[in-house]
Every structure is written in C-alpha cells, then in structure tokens.
Subunit: 160 residues, 2 copies
DNA sequence: AGCCGATGTTTGAAGCTTAAAGTAAAGCCG
DNA sequence: CGGCTTTACTTTAAGCTTCAAACATCGGCT
C-alpha cells in the first residue's frame, strides 16, 4: 500500500501521479479484500484458487502451467503449489502435454467446473454490488482510462 | 456465467462491472509488480517494508501498530512480524506508549528516515514514468472516478 | 549429429498474509 | 468496586508469493 512520501513541496512533478497510484491501490485492495473474505466464508476457497479456476473455465481444452501463470501474472513456482493443492482437492486434473514432454496440461474436473460456476455467479453479483454507485457511462469511462493507464505502465514495466 | 436461454437483456447485468474490476486488477498488479521488483533490486527492500516506512514518514511522532495496520489495510498479526524485522534491520524503533500500556509506538530511526527519503524519491519517479502517457486532465479524471468507485465499494464492504 | 540458447517446470529459502485463538490492558456501567 | 465489552498486540498454522537456482526438454543452427 503505499507511500506518499513526504515533503509537502508544492507542485512536485509526479505528485498527481502518485496520488492516482495510491487511490488505485486502495480501491483495488478494498474490493479484493472483500472478495477474498467472501470467497473464503461462503465457499471455503481462497482467491488464488478461484483465479486459477477462472482461467481454466475459459479454456475448455486446458492450459499449461505457463499459460495460467502468464494470465494470472504470478510466478511459475507459485503455480506449482497452487495446482498441487487444487489437484488434491479434486478440482483440477493434470496430464502431460501430448506435444511437449516438459509441459503439463491442467483443466477443471467436473466438480471443479460446477463448483466454479456457482462461485462465479456470486462473484459477479458482489462486484456489481460494490460498483453499484457508478452509472454505466462512468463504468465505461473508467474502464477506458484504466486501459490507457495499463498500457502506459506496461511500456515502462516491460523494457528493462 | 449467465447467457442462459431467453430474453436477451441489453447485456448481462454486472458484466461491465466485472470487466472493469478485471482491468482495475491487472492495472494495479502491473504497476505494483514493477515497483516491488525495483525496490528489491535497487534498494534491497520489500514493498511491505517500504509501506510501513512510508506511513511512519508522515507521522514524525510515531504511530501505534494498530494505526499503521489500519492505514496499510493489513492485519495486526501481519504487522507484528513486519515491524520486528524493521527493528532488527535498524530502520524502526519501538517504545511503549506513555498513555496505554497495551500499545507500542513505532517510528523511523535516523537511518530509516534517510533511507526512506531516497527510496521515496525514486518511487515517485517510477510512478510518474509509468503513467507518463496520461495527460494531466486524464490523471485528474481517473483519480476522481476511482474515488467514487472506492466509496461505492466501501459501502458494501463495511456493512456485513 | 551435436551444441546452445530459450522455454516449462520444480524446488528451496525467505518473507508476506490471513484467520483464529490467546493474553493483557483499558474503559464502561451498575 | 466487580463484571462486561472493547481494543492492542502476539502467536500459530496454513497458505500464498517471490526470487533464484536447478533440471529437463525443445528448437534452431552448424
């Protein structure tokens, strides 16, 4: 969370951007914490597991671990353990990739898929409720602006 | 989710909100990952520690653990360990609260403050660079919209 | 064929994070 | 005062997360 560092200088360049960043962060954190809490309380599931299942739900033929980790923007090492637990709980199954002996393809089990559908519906409702104060045009506007912010950030983040 | 049989409503209610949420999330994650990476690489510091220091930098008289955990929106238990490590590394010191024997007041050490100032300046520059494509009016607009989103979310998140 | 840099995955260490349970002190109220 | 609720903090267990290092395989190149 973050930091508004200091010195009460007047128009430091970058000030407005930092302010925006802090707001972005608290906004995300607030929503995310609530979703995490409800997923746990109502379905006994953690957010990261939900996220894996969400990625798989959109890919009926399964995905490799790398593909999932790219979509979720988490490290590969992270995914190893996550998937291990999802396999153990019967929500996901893994099989070796037919075309690449290094890779594994994972997909939702029957149970996994039907559990996910129930959770996803609730999830959608929670989001809608939390953003209920924003009329549709604002939603669209915000979505657009965030898209620009994202691609601006990505430019810098990728070149290293 | 949805798209069952029947009356094609304008669009699934809640859809646009979910789309917005996902974009908010990837936007935040992208920026946050980059900041985390740079803090580690250039200063050997983790983001949570930076955040604690940022909170303390703005409070010259120190803060109790609870106050910090409220600002950072993390659990109290989390902060216990975080502060422990910051004390160990000489960035923060703790003393008992003069008015409440349960509480501890923590504040930046000299080292902590001067280290933080250096990092904060770099941090501000990174943020500004990542958001460089957004002209000032867009920044303001986005900040405003996020404020609305936040308070909308907070309404739902707090009542439970 | 054989090398070699890139890719897919796992492992390990360190640290972050939460929820839940526990201890201690404060504050209220009859 | 004595009892009750709240608040401050710590502890524990489980899980998440990253980075870095280790492997195995792949694909291109010579």
């Amino acid at each position: 969370m973050a930091a508004l560092a200091g010195a009460p200088r007047r128009s430091t360049p970058g000030r407005g951007e930092v302010r925006l960043w802090l707001r972005l962060l608290t906004c995300t954190t607030t929503i995310e914490a609530e979703i995490r809490r409800r997923l746990r309380r109502e379905f006994g599931v953690t957010l990261p597991r939900f996220d894996v299942m969400a990625a798989l739900d959109r890919a009926p033929d399964g995905l490799t671990l790398s593909e999932v980790s790219k979509r979720m923007m988490v490290s590969n090492g992270n995914l190893t353990g996550l998937v291990e637990r999802l396999v153990a709980s019967g929500h996901v199954n893994r099989r070796p990739s037919p075309t690449d002996r290094r890779a594994q393809v994972i997909s939702l089990t029957e149970t996994g898929r039907s559990d996910f559908r129930v959770m996803a519906a609730a999830h959608e409702g929670w989001i809608a409720a939390m953003l209920a104060d924003l009329p549709d045009p604002r939603i669209a506007e915000l979505t657009d602006l965030l898209g620009r912010a994202k691609s601006s950030a990505r430019k810098v983040a990728t070149d290293d």
